[in-house]
Symmetry: C2
Subunit: 202 residues, 2 copies
């Protein structure tokens, strides 16, 4: 288990996996550094984030399961990943299972949010989720998140125009400050409260 393994590096914005049936050379990847985003993209080019894969997480499990992949996997930041061997060690299979169990639990949360929360509350949750990824860093003015309105729209399942309105609202209410391609989290406690309440989404 300690022998050196090949790693692969991807540049920000690079597509790592495309939708389709995995070929014989496709692998499951383990993220060592950076952030990978799995997203569905519709005919009009609107992206929808399905899952964020952080260091320690696995993706591309369709290669093990022989299933069709329905999403793109994209490097959000520079990503260093380790492809698993074609027949992984049982202990590694177990690690993939734990990672998928975690991902499934997160996707349940995403389903709940989409079904029951207003956009503003979902946006607070998305900002907090992204703030725990390599897209965020501490600055003297607070925790700064690098994210465009398009990326935020993909994170909450909406479109940029609507997101711009909601970001304006959150800014006016003092939860965040927003600048070009970045969000500064000013009231993390308030954002957490928003993220935990539903508004009246159904």
């Amino acid at each position: 288990m300690t022998q050196a393994r090949e790693t692969v590096t991807f540049k920000p914005g690079e597509v790592i996996l495309y939708p389709g049936v995995p070929g014989p050379r496709d692998r499951v990847y383990r993220v060592l550094e950076g952030l990978v985003r799995l997203e569905a993209v519709d005919e009009e080019g609107n992206a929808l984030t399905l899952r964020l894969v952080r260091p320690g997480g696995y993706f591309g499990e369709e290669a093990l399961a022989g299933m069709e992949r329905t999403y793109f996997a994209e490097a959000v930041t520079e990503v260093v990943a380790e492809p698993l061997p074609k027949e992984p060690h049982p202990e590694e299979i177990r690690q993939v299972l734990l990672s998928l169990a975690q991902a499934l639990s997160e996707s349940y949360r995403r389903i709940e949010r989409l079904a029951t929360q207003r956009l503003k509350n979902r946006m607070a949750a998305a900002i907090l989720e992204l703030a725990e990824t390599p897209l965020a860093h501490e600055e003297p003015e607070g925790l700064v998140l690098r994210a465009t309105h398009d990326e935020l729209a993909a994170a909450v399942g909406s479109v940029r125009e609507t997101v711009t309105k909601v970001i304006g609202e959150l800014t006016r209410e003092g939860y965040i400050r927003s600048g070009y391609g970045k969000i500064i989290l000013k009231d993390i406690r308030g954002l957490k409260e928003l993220a935990q309440s539903r508004g009246d989404g159904r």
Copy 2:
């Protein structure tokens, strides 16, 4: 692998797993017969279906992963399930992994539907999904699905009053006929077309 194992039978409506941190006696289950529904329930008692587990599928993976469970697992029909041993055989771990990969893929589809489809289109998709479970059976008048409006509301992430309107609409348009606690699928091809288009949900 061929030795006899204990199985457990659950009655329709019986709760198999509750939310919370799995205890030392909690197990992962494999469904042998029937249908299990994983659902979140909010403070007002509104249920939201997170996943349907059919024969061959596994649930309760939190027991392997040591993670908190956020949902109820409920027997929809009579269910026969097999609890896995505390330390499953590597081949069985692999089977759980494949089941979770499938579940994750289905949950991505659910996320996409919630983010992008109108309720009517999601309802068509939910009816078709439920029609492939033990809740449906062939009768001379067509494929009959046993489902209350509450269950359909949980399946699409809405509430009964709204669902009743949409079911009325689908009935008037000839896609289904609906009776007390049941739906008769009259135009499966039409339902499939509806399920594949988005309406204008975003």
